[in-house]
């Protein structure tokens, strides 16, 4: 079976060198590694927002550099560590994100269903500025998942939560993704989280500068 992602001799910016990696399809992959080992940069290369300075990265056997970048990002969406929400209510956030993607937004009922699957017990008119860091992060991931990407790259999705809440939230996120048929790759510095959820773990090491 073609791996979900594969990298060969990947180098970024002359200071990050990656060992060759392979992500099996259909399995939850966790990427771990110390800070500065290039976890977030790898994600950006995988969804085409950064280009490697050397080497190649493949998505389902296709060279990422040769793919249409916008189509790739709609299929492989990257949820960054720092959530971004628009001012206003939950509904307005979906409206704004969908307006940027030039798609019609989901109905209130769909949003409500999505929120509850993310353990967010709010109405669509709830103002997001009163949300806690963890709630903002979950709503942000929910917005991304609502576009039904084929792959969701989650960069430290539980960084704003304590360990117990983080585990239950991640379990809910993974369940929602499974129901959507969305593949999940997670960057996490938490070994326990990886042990609990990962079906495949890739550990990045800080390679010596070139």
């Amino acid at each position: 079976m073609e791996p979900l992602f594969k990298t060969e001799d990947l180098v970024f910016g002359g200071f990050l060198k990656y060992a060759d990696l392979s992500f099996p399809a259909g399995k939850i992959t966790f990427i771990t590694g110390e800070s500065g080992s290039g976890k977030s940069t790898l994600f950006k290369i995988l969804n085409g927002t950064l280009s490697p300075s050397k080497g190649r990265a493949y998505y389902r056997g296709r060279d990422i550099e040769a793919l249409d970048a916008i189509a790739l990002r709609r299929e492989v969406s990257l949820v960054s560590q720092e959530p971004f929400l628009f001012d206003g209510a939950v509904r307005e956030n979906f409206d704004a994100y969908y307006a940027y993607r030039e798609q019609s937004p989901p109905t209130d009922a769909d949003i409500k269903k999505l929120l509850s699957s993310f353990l967010l017990d709010f109405g669509t008119d709830a103002p997001t500025r009163t949300f806690s860091g963890g709630e903002k992060q979950r709503l942000y991931i929910a917005v991304f998942l609502s576009f039904q990407p084929r792959v969701l790259l989650l960069d430290e999705p539980t960084s704003a939560l304590d360990a117990a809440t983080g585990a239950s939230v991640l379990s809910a996120i993974i369940k929602s993704c499974r129901e959507n048929g969305t593949e999940v790759v997670v960057v996490s510095h938490s070994v326990q989280m990886a042990e609990q959820f990962a079906q495949n773990t890739l550990h990045l090491r800080k390679e010596a500068a070139l």
Binding site: G48, R73, S80, Y97
Partner: protein, 267 residues
Amino acid sequence: MSGAADIGILSFCLIYLLLIVVLILMRRSKIAKTRELLIASLRMTAQLVLVGFILTYILQNPHPAFTAAFISAMVVFSVHRVLSRQKGLNFRFKVIIGASFSISGLAILAYFVLAVLGQSLANPQYTIPLAGMILGNSMTGMNLALASFSQSITSQKQKMDALLNLGVPPQNILKPLAGGALETALIPTINSMVGMGIIFLPGMMTGQILSGTLPTTAILYQISIMIAICAAVSLAVFAALMAGVKTLYNGKSQFTFGPDITRKDPS
């Protein structure tokens, strides 16, 4: 109606006494800008004396080449002033700003002088002062627009990254920021239009009245110049930003700048 009364050199020097008042007030308020005020006053005096002599010569010896040279110098100087505040911007963006600014300003000037006033572009009496007003105000508008645009890019980097990661084309992310910058650029012109005639008498109209022009004629000039300025600012800023944003991403739909617009390498 008579022309403006001549000011004798000695009487003229009396106006500098008012600067002493400003200096005293600055000292009292502990504002350490005495040097700047003195330098600014000296520069203004030197620049205006120089331009006064040059304009007198050009008006007495009108020649299309003199007018063209004067206007070119104004364009070069104002483009330089705009770009000197945008040091880190990429080279293509700078060229686009320079071109949009010059072409918009000169096109509006040509329309004003040829179509509205029915004068020749070579006539320095009309072309030079109007160019000064149009280019000067466009320069302020462009500076405001670029400052607002860079500030939005820096403060909204998180939003821009989120949208890019979700597959929103970079042009759709940047264009609303350019729109916001155009709005900022137009605010001073629109505000001064609103207050004009009630809160203050504008400079051009005041100058014409002082030199003996009928107020009814002066207002026609004033209204025309305000609309011309508004159009020049809009055109220059719109063209500069709409074309300029295209230099901020590459063919792979990646941003080509870092945490702020002046840093080129994304990290």
